[in-house]
Symmetry: C2
Subunit: 270 residues, 2 copies
DNA sequence: GTGCTTTATTGGTATTACCTAATGTGCTGC
DNA sequence: GCAGCACATTAGGTAATACCAATAAAGCAC
């Protein structure tokens, strides 16, 4: 059985068996899984060995575990890429430039497609997202959610689920990253979304594409601007507080971490 | 601390703390983590609680665990999306059409960029991939690896790591899916790769883009053809073997699964 | 100094026990 | 007969412990 991967710890094997069962149609979206205790017996492993495998599936958004109830295979893959994408950004140190470049490469094209295939349902969703955006004064969380909704509506209108998943995830991770910035400006965002929506409603692909490109470029410009300001502020702080030159992020996203943990020979140190 | 997600089981919290540590620069790519026993003490949880969290990170390609040695934070995110993407395909039932559509939307553009930015290193990689492709007679695994190498070379030449990661993963998952088909034809693949490589070397973006699009369309056509054949064959088998109408995949990818497991009231049944 | 052996360390697995939350059942009271 | 509450069952979540297997580092012999 040739395969590109090859590990051998039980966790991985169990996950492979799960995958196999899914592709064989034994497990279908929405089905309730047997209890951990039963599964452990079936797979001939201890429950404490099975649990990590199930936890991996849950954290990747493949299943959902409910205490006192059981585990269910998710209906769709809407959240499968969320966490991995965040780690991708962290590990690769993905820059806003890269993100923007990718989005510019594809979202205008998607907007154009949306303008070609759009249905009345899609239009309703688009309008709703704009309405929500307008009504979410100062509420950053709601504002960002509305922004996401707008772009997701376009993805759906474009008619390719896979592409939608991908870019929804990217968009979301991006917004999560800049959650702490003051960036997202209500009027500003609306002023871009409205014409795009209109172009799609009028089934004008060329215009939709062009406007979307402008929107993304503008967002990138704003992001870059904010970043410069933060950098500057950090620099000032660096000199005023006279602290040692420990690397610091611009915003106060630090939490949950007690500062001086870990002090070992060749392991991590701070 | 506003955040789009919100769970509260320890596993998730631990992963969040890990993420935080990474974004704070406490954990940097390549560092060796403290042992599970130490980490468990630091996080004030039992080792058996910490393990699933670490396992999630390993399965997502964030860390690498070595028995008798320790855990290391990976250098890059090259494998972070691999497993999630496979589950995405499984859960969403992603079709070859969707995949092809997405690739057609972006890979020609990437080939064009590659033609603009290509360096001598990139060209060397491209040529090597073609050489490997030619030398991998009948060895399907090597053949597929060469194919992957070719496209990855283009991604790298295009200069956007994020895009490269994304499409490498998609490409890989796609190949993994069709691993069992006889599809991949040596001469055929080479006949497409060579001119694309040439166009990139000559710094001809328009040509590179056009050829890449042709390559993808051709691959999609072949895939579709194969699929029809398999469907037909399955249909024949269905009638000759007189078995009950259990869902079956065309190829013999089934393994690891004993057929009649699980028979419970409202849980999965087969 | 080189090469082997030993040993401490690390992740992997199994066993057990107990907690909390959800479900379902049956009893009670109206 | 039906509504509503109490309880027992069952699910996943966590902890504690013991032991296995693989690795790497330390020590020893040559």
């Amino acid at each position: 059985m040739p395969c590109l991967d090859a590990k051998e710890d039980l966790t991985h094997l169990l996950i492979l068996r799960f995958q196999q069962m899914m592709s064989d149609g034994v497990l279908r979206p929405g089905t309730k899984l047997p209890s951990e205790r039963e599964l452990a017996v079936h797979f001939k492993v201890d429950r404490s060995t099975l649990r990590p495998a199930l936890k991996v599936l849950e954290m990747m958004g493949v299943i959902q575990q409910k205490i006192g109830d059981g585990s269910y295979l998710n209906q769709d893959a809407s959240s499968v890429l969320a966490m991995p994408m965040e780690f991708l950004f962290l590990l690769d140190g993905t820059s806003i430039e890269e993100l923007t470049e990718l989005r510019l490469l594809i979202e205008p094209a998607l907007a154009a497609r949306a303008a070609e295939r759009v249905t009345s349902d899609d239009i309703a969703l688009l309008r709703q997202s704009i309405k929500e955006l307008e009504s979410s004064k100062q509420d950053r969380v709601k504002l960002i959610a509305s922004d996401l909704l707008f772009h997701r509506a376009i993805f759906e209108a474009s008619g390719n689920r896979l592409t939608g998943r991908l870019f929804h995830t990217i968009h979301r991770a991006m917004l999560n990253m800049m959650m702490t910035s003051q960036l997202v400006d209500l009027e500003h965002t609306v002023s871009f979304h409205k014409p795009i929506c209109a172009a799609i409603e009028q089934c004008n692909p060329a215009l939709a594409s062009k406007l979307m490109a402008a929107h993304l470029k503008d967002a990138a410009r704003l992001l870059d601007q904010i970043r410069r300001q933060e950098k500057e502020r950090d620099l000032r702080q660096h000199f005023t507080t006279a602290k040692s030159g420990l690397v610091k992020k611009g915003n106060s996203a630090r939490r949950l971490m007690s500062p001086v943990l870990f002090a070992k020979k060749n392991s991590i140190r701070l």
